[in-house]
Every structure is written in structure tokens, then in C-alpha cells.
């Protein structure tokens, strides 16, 4: 038989079958790798989703707590200011009454002033704005740093919100990856179908055509997978 002789019908039927087998194996390995990547991305998305929800609960709780704390601190501060001013006004009144010669009234007013001053002293002792060096005024002429207190009170909640946003972003990213891997797997199913058809057809040229289309689909899958992996 000459080397250039046309293939027999039997040879024609078997042509490219090995190529199809190799391509099917390659597709299976790719599908297995994609399934593993999809499972991993899905697990990471689940964990990030859970963490973002947990942090949202914590952040809302911290906002609630810091609100209650600030409310308490400002109420004490307000009471202190009121009592301090009341003591001063009563002391001035007592002085005026003394000047007017009404000593009995002045004595009573001074008692009230002393009571107000006692209340103010307790307020100062309890107030974070006078006991904490971060907020206490540096001198008697200055006022406490209430703005710094507000910043600090919200600090933990803000940190939790930043973490929550990061977890939420992470969830979105992994969920998107998981979806992309599902897309790649779906495209890959088309390649399986084409290679199955290629195995079934008897005409070698038709088999090769199906194989080429299958390879194009594998190329598309690889492209989607690469973009997903990098992204």
C-alpha cells in the first residue's frame, strides 16, 4: 500500500478519536479545577457575608451604647453647669442682700448657694469632662473638650463600620467570583456536549469540526477563569 493512499473507511471512522479523548480529559480536569475554585469562592463568600452581618449587629449595638453614654455624660455636665451657675448667682444675691442690710435673707441665700455649690462639686467629680485628662480643661478659664469626647465616643462604632464595610466588600467580591466560576462551568458543559457529539459522529471531518468548536469553548472558559482569578 502506498503512503499517499486515501484512508480506508475504517481508518476514516477512527480518525481524531484520540484527540477527542485527550480533549475530553482536559475538559474534565478543567471542570474539576473550576468546581474546586467555585466551592472555595462560595465558602469565602459565605464567611464574609456572615462576618459583615455580625459586624453590622455589633456596630449598631456600639452606636446605641455610645449614645447612652454620651447622653449620661452630657446630662451630668449640664447639671454641673446649672448648679455651678446657680451657686454663683445665689452668692451674688447674698452679697447684694448684705449690702442692702438684709443679713437674715443673705444668710438663707448663702445656705442655698452652699447647697448648689455642693451639688456642683459632686457633678464635677462625676463628670468625665473634668476627670479625664483627654477632655478636662487645661486651665480654669477654658471649657472642656466636648468635641474630642464626641469623636472618641464614636471611634469604636466607626471602626466596626469600617470593618463591616470591608467584610461586605469581600463578600461581594467572592460572590462575584463564585458566580463567574459557575458561568465558566456552564460554558464548559457546552464543550462536553460538543466532544460527546464528536465521539458519536462517524465522519472524521465533522468530528474535527466539533472538536475545533469545543476547543474554542474551552478557550472561552479559560479566559473567563483567568479574568476571574486575576480580578
Amino acid at each position: 500500500m502506498s503512503e499517499n493512499a486515501p484512508p480506508t473507511p475504517q481508518e476514516n471512522r477512527e480518525r481524531y478519536k484520540n484527540l477527542i479523548i485527550v480533549l475530553t480529559v482536559l475538559t474534565t480536569v478543567l471542570a474539576a479545577a473550576l468546581a474546586a475554585l467555585q466551592a472555595d469562592a462560595s465558602i469565602r463568600a459565605d464567611i464574609a457575608n456572615r462576618d459583615s452581618q455580625f459586624l453590622a449587629v455589633q456596630a449598631s449595638g456600639e452606636l446605641h451604647r455610645s449614645g447612652l453614654e454620651a447622653n449620661y455624660e452630657f446630662r451630668i455636665f449640664g447639671d454641673y453647669l446649672k448648679d455651678q451657675q446657680e451657686a454663683t448667682i445665689l452668692e451674688l444675691t447674698a452679697l447684694e442682700q448684705e449690702s442692702a442690710g438684709d443679713d437674715e435673707a443673705a444668710q438663707t441665700t448663702r445656705q442655698l448657694s452652699a447647697a448648689a455649690q455642693a451639688r456642683a462639686d459632686v457633678g464635677q467629680k462625676f463628670s468625665i469632662f473634668y476627670n479625664d485628662p483627654r477632655y478636662a480643661p487645661a486651665s480654669a478659664d477654658e471649657i472642656p473638650r466636648a468635641d474630642q469626647y464626641i469623636i472618641d465616643a464614636q471611634k469604636k462604632a466607626n471602626e466596626l463600620i469600617v470593618q463591616q464595610n470591608q467584610a461586605s466588600d469581600s463578600y461581594r467580591r467572592w460572590n462575584q467570583k463564585s458566580d463567574s466560576y459557575v458561568t465558566a462551568l456552564t460554558i464548559l458543559a457546552v464543550a462536553f456536549f460538543l466532544f460527546g457529539l464528536a465521539q458519536a459522529v462517524k465522519e472524521a471531518r465533522l468530528r474535527l469540526t466539533f472538536a475545533i468548536f469545543g476547543m474554542v469553548v474551552i478557550g472561552l472558559t479559560l479566559m473567563v477563569t483567568a479574568i476571574t482569578l486575576i480580578g
Binding site: I21, T24, V25, T28, V29, A32, A35, A36, A39, D40, I43, D46, I47, R50, D51, Q53, F54, V57, Q58, S60, G61, H64, R65, L68, E69, N71, Y72, R75, I76, D79, D83, Q107, T108, Q111, A114, A115, Q117, A118, R119, D121, V122, G123, K125, F126
Partner: protein, 221 residues
């Protein structure tokens, strides 16, 4: 030739049985992987529920603690006022102080309890240890609700699922190779069967190793 045909027929039957066994094992492996995944999701869900409950307790504790702190402050203020009135030379002021101490302060102290009544919450300077009260309140709830522990268990289960997926994939790959061995031409069969069987054994060993390792990790936890 007859002996070869008999060997071929026996091989095909043996391979068919092996394919059935591998299919069943793969199905079991996928089922087990999904059960572990479902357990992990359950733990995460319970952890989130516990986190919401714990936070609700925390919110209520904070509300109660700061309300008591407000009453305790008012009590301390009134106490100081009574002391100031007591220092006065005016008998009317002294009478007022005595009445405040006798009738008003005990009721205010009741409202401000336990901060104003329990000595362990009282600081030497006359203020109250609000932080200690909050910690005591939280400790009561924390003994029952621990979302972090549930999340940790869920993470371990997710990790186990991740490794079991690898085992399932190895089993699926072996199934593919054994099927090829069943339908391929004579010259490839032996290699395909060997690869299929090897992958199957590797997948089984992998899955058992994962189960074994995670059994001890969970027992340790």
C-alpha cells in the same frame, strides 16, 4: 484468542462493577461534603441569631446601667446637698437636711441600686464603678450566648468542606478514567484503568484523612 476474549469480558465486568462502586462512593462523598456544608451554614446561622440576642441583651444592659448611673448621680448630689445643709447654723436648714436624709435619700438609694447600695461598685472618691457593673451584667449573658465559638466551629466545618470537595473531585476524575477504560481501544485500556483505580484510591485516602484530621480538630476544640 478465546482466552483473550474471556479475559476481556471479565475485565469489562470487573471494571463495570468498579464503576458502580466508584459512582456510589462519589455520591456518598458529595452527600457528606454537602452535609458538612449544611452543618457549617447551621452553625453560622445560630451564631448570627446568638449575636443578635447577645447584642439585644447588651443594649438592654447598657440602658439599665446608664439609667441606674443617672439615679446614682442624683442620689450622690442630693446626699451632698443634705451634708451642706447640715453644716449650716440655721435650724431650718438642719431640719430640711434631716428630713432629706430620713425620707428622700433611702428611696433614691433604692432607685440607684446596686450602684449606690453595693459597696463593690463604690469608688474611694465617692463616684461609682459603672464599668464593673456593665462587666457583671455582660458576664451573666455571656455564659449562655457565645456566637464567636459557633463561628469558629462553622469555620472549621467550612474548612473541612473545602478539603472534602477535593476528595470528591478526585473520585469524579477516577470515574471518568474508568469509564474511558470501559469504552476505549485495547491499547489504552490498561493505562486508563490504572489511572482510574489510582485516582480512586487516592480520593478515598484523601477523604478518610480529611475526616480523621477534622474529627480530632473538632474534639480538640
Amino acid at each position: 484468542m478465546k482466552v483473550f476474549d474471556r479475559f476481556k469480558a471479565r475485565f469489562e465486568i470487573f471494571n463495570a462493577i468498579l464503576i458502580a462502586v466508584v459512582s456510589l462512593t462519589t455520591a456518598l462523598s458529595v452527600w457528606r461534603t454537602n452535609v458538612i456544608g449544611s452543618d457549617a451554614a447551621d452553625e453560622s446561622r445560630q451564631g448570627l441569631i446568638d449575636a443578635v440576642k447577645k447584642q439585644a441583651f447588651g443594649n438592654e444592659n447598657a440602658r439599665k446601667a446608664y439609667e441606674e448611673a443617672g439615679f446614682a448621680f442624683q442620689y450622690a448630689v442630693k446626699q451632698a446637698e443634705a451634708e451642706a445643709l447640715n453644716k449650716s447654723n440655721d435650724p431650718a436648714a438642719k431640719d430640711r437636711a434631716a428630713n432629706v436624709e430620713q425620707y428622700l435619700l433611702p428611696n433614691m438609694q433604692l432607685l440607684a441600686s446596686p450602684l449606690a447600695s453595693d459597696e463593690k461598685y463604690q469608688n474611694p472618691d465617692g463616684t461609682y464603678n459603672l464599668q464593673m457593673l456593665l462587666e457583671d451584667m455582660a458576664a451573666e449573658d455571656e455564659s449562655q450566648l457565645n456566637p464567636q465559638a459557633l463561628f469558629k466551629r462553622a469555620d472549621t466545618l467550612y474548612s473541612q468542606k473545602r478539603w472534602l470537595v477535593v476528595g470528591s473531585i478526585l473520585l469524579a476524575l477516577s470515574l471518568f478514567w474508568l469509564t474511558l477504560a470501559e469504552i476505549s481501544a485495547e491499547r489504552f485500556r490498561a493505562w486508563e484503568f490504572a489511572i482510574g483505580l489510582g485516582t480512586y484510591l487516592l480520593g478515598m485516602a484523601w477523604s478518610f484523612a480529611v475526616e480523621f484530621i477534622f474529627f480530632f480538630i473538632q474534639r480538640g476544640a
